[in-house]
Amino acid sequence: MNFEAVADVMLKPGIADPQGQTIERALVALGYSGVGEVRVGKHIELSVDAPSRADAHATVTRMCEQLLANTVIESYEVGVLEPSGDGDHGHDSPRRERVLEA
C-alpha cells in the first residue's frame, strides 16, 4: 500500500532558533500583538510503500533518524495518512487529518 506521510523537523526545545525569533519580531512589528514562541523547522512530505500504516510510520521514523533530522539539535514528528486507495495522494488534498507523534 502507498501512504502519504509527513515529517516535521524542528530544533529541539532550548536550542536557540534565531530564525524563529526574527520572524516573531517581524510579526509583532506588523501588528500581530498576541504572537509568541515562533519556531521554524522543516516540513517534509513524501509517499512510502508499506504493508501497513504502522510500518509506514516506522519507516519514516527511521528516515528521520538516519537522514531527515540531525538528532543532535533537532527533534521530529512523523505523521501518516490512511492510504488513499487509488494511489492519488495529491499534496493539495483539500482537507485531511493527521496524527502526529513525538
Binding site: 534565531p18 526574527t22 520572524i23 517581524a26 512589528a29 506588523l30 521554524v40
Partner: protein, 226 residues
C-alpha cells in the same frame, strides 16, 4: 551635475560599502539610509544593495519589504526615478512587488560565488545604454537564491515589454530563461543577481560593472535640467 544615490541599508545588508565605493569612483555622491527611516534624502537613484537583510530568515527579502523606508522607495519608483536592486536587493524588490516573479533557491542547492558572463539582452534601458545588445559582460554572482521564476503569463508580458536586460551565458542558478537581471514594466526599476560593484576595477578582475552603473548616471544627467 553630481548624481546623488541613496543606498538603503537593512540589518544584515553587507554590500552597501562596496556600492558606495564603486559609485563614488564614478563621481556619484552617496548616502546610506537606515531601513527605519521613513523618507529618502533628495536623490536621483536608489540602490538596494546585496547582503542578508534580516539574516535572510524565513525567506530572502520577506521581512525587509515591510521596513519603513520601503514606502519611500516605492514612491521614488512610482515617480519614474531609478531604483537598482542588486542580489539581495533584487530579492527585496521582488518581495515588495516592485519587480515580477520570485527568486528561488539555486537549482544546485549550493551558495554560489563566482565570475559569470552575462549577455546584454536589451541595451535600451537606463541600466544598459553604455553597453551594446549582445555584448558579454564579466560580472560576479554571489547568492543562494538567484533562481528567478514567474508563471507563463508574467513571462510573456516580460518578453513583450522587453524587460529582460541581462541573461547568463552559462546559467549558474537555474533561473527561468537564463534571466540575470530584469526591469519592471515601466523600465525604471532593475533587479539583477550579478554584482556590478564588484566588477568596477581591473585589479579585482573586471571593469564591466561600470558600464551598468555608468548607464544609470547617463540617464540621470539626461533628465537633469540643463
Amino acid at each position: 551635475m553630481t548624481a546623488r544615490a541613496a543606498i538603503v541599508v537593512f540589518p544584515g545588508s553587507n554590500c552597501e560599502g562596496d556600492c558606495a565605493r564603486a559609485l563614488g569612483a564614478l563621481g556619484v555622491a552617496t548616502e546610506l539610509v537606515w531601513h527605519t527611516d521613513e523618507g529618502l534624502p533628495d536623490c536621483d537613484l536608489v540602490v538596494v544593495p546585496g547582503g542578508f537583510a534580516h539574516g535572510d530568515y524565513l525567506r530572502t527579502g520577506a521581512i525587509a519589504r515591510f521596513s519603513p523606508v520601503m514606502g519611500a522607495v516605492r514612491a521614488h519608483a512610482a515617480a519614474g526615478k531609478l531604483v537598482i536592486g542588486i542580489c539581495n536587493g533584487w530579492q527585496i524588490l521582488c518581495e515588495a512587488g516592485l519587480l515580477p516573479g520570485a527568486l528561488r533557491r539555486n537549482s544546485g542547492l549550493k551558495f554560489v560565488c563566482k565570475w559569470t558572463d552575462i549577455r546584454v539582452a536589451n541595451a535600451a534601458t537606463p541600466f544598459s545604454t553604455r553597453a551594446e545588445e549582445g555584448q558579454v559582460l564579466r560580472v560576479p554572482v554571489n547568492h543562494f537564491e538567484g533562481n528567478w521564476y514567474c508563471d507563463r503569463d508574467v513571462l510573456s508580458r516580460v518578453h513583450a515589454n522587453r524587460q529582460i536586460v541581462f541573461r547568463y551565458a552559462d546559467n549558474p542558478n537555474g533561473a527561468l530563461d537564463d534571466v540575470a537581471g530584469l526591469t519592471n514594466e515601466a523600465g525604471n526599476v532593475l533587479g539583477m543577481m550579478p554584482h556590478p560593484e564588484r566588477a568596477s576595477e581591473a585589479l579585482l578582475g573586471s571593469e564591466d560593472g561600470r558600464l551598468i552603473l555608468g548607464s544609470m548616471l547617463d540617464h540621470v544627467s539626461a533628465l537633469a535640467p540643463a
